[in-house]
């Protein structure tokens, strides 16, 4: 079970980073769209 605990922790960190990155990218794109 310890193996899966560490896998889950690493996966959670990577998953959180990806979602936050997407939110960041989204705001960048929206700014560009506004500028035209």
């Amino acid at each position: 079970m310890e193996t899966y605990t560490s896998v889950f922790i690493v996966a959670t960190i990577l998953w959180t980073a990806l979602i936050l990155y997407l939110v960041y990218i989204d705001s960048k794109i929206r700014k560009l769209v506004k500028k035209g």
Binding site: Y4, F8, A11, W15, I19, L22, V23, S27, R30, V33
Partner: protein, 216 residues
């Protein structure tokens, strides 16, 4: 209706929570499978990741097929943009399908790659859409590029049913989902993971199309 930043945050929050909840159940809650095949006791957990990613691969390439047909019918370059963006995501999800597949195959079948019909047809599908992008990068004229890649996108989509039915068309060791008897709570988690992955795909497709529209 405009897809605002609030919608993005709401959608990504749903995706985040759904997939995290699925992964938590798959890795931490569900016990080992009751089977005499020793490696399979823990390996079945892979199904909660591999199947949703694979389903998303099929959806991505199907969207490419639909928008390729629409492009040929209307000659609207916006449809070409959607078809190409979906193909890009399809190849990404297809890569992850192959990776989760080979990681599972090593302990289950004894080797990372066995040229099983499912593996082989999956790889062919990957190569078809790799060729799709090679073709796109080789043509500078927008309309010729859109027309030729739409034709390849349509013919390449044959790879989707070929991959899906490969386990019934030929002798294959690959498990078939319909032969499985997942417990109801596992089935729910699998469905949630499929929903989460598809929602992520929908968002990524939207942002990819937007990026292309602003000239990225």
């Amino acid at each position: 209706m405009e897809f605002t930043r609030k919608h993005t945050v709401a959608l990504l929050s749903v995706v985040y929570i759904t997939v995290l909840y699925g992964a938590y159940n798959a890795l931490m809650v569900f016990g080992p499978m009751q089977t005499d095949i020793l490696p399979m006791r823990e390996l079945y957990r892979n199904v909660f990741f591999h199947v949703p990613i694979n389903a998303t691969t099929y959806v991505s390439f199907t969207i490419t097929l639909i928008f390729s047909l629409l492009y040929l019918k209307t000659k609207n370059l916006r449809y070409d943009n959607i078809a190409a963006s979906s193909a890009k995501l399809g190849i990404l999800f297809c890569t992850f399908t192959l990776i989760t597949g080979v990681v599972w195959a090593k302990p289950a079948w004894g080797a990372y790659w066995n040229w099983d019909p499912r593996e082989t047809t999956g790889l062919i599908l990957w190569f078809i859409f790799a060729a799709y992008f090679a073709l796109r990068s080789a043509i500078s004229d927008e309309e010729a590029r859109a027309r030729l890649s739409a034709v390849l996108g349509i013919f390449g989509s044959v790879g989707i049913p070929l991959t899906y039915f490969s386990t019934t068309l030929w002798f294959s060791l690959h498990p078939r989902l319909k032969d499985w008897s997942l417990a109801p709570e596992m089935r729910t988690v699998l469905m949630l993971m499929i929903f989460g992955t598809l929602a992520l795909y929908a968002y990524l497709l939207w942002i990819e199309v937007k990026i292309k529209e602003v000239g990225g």
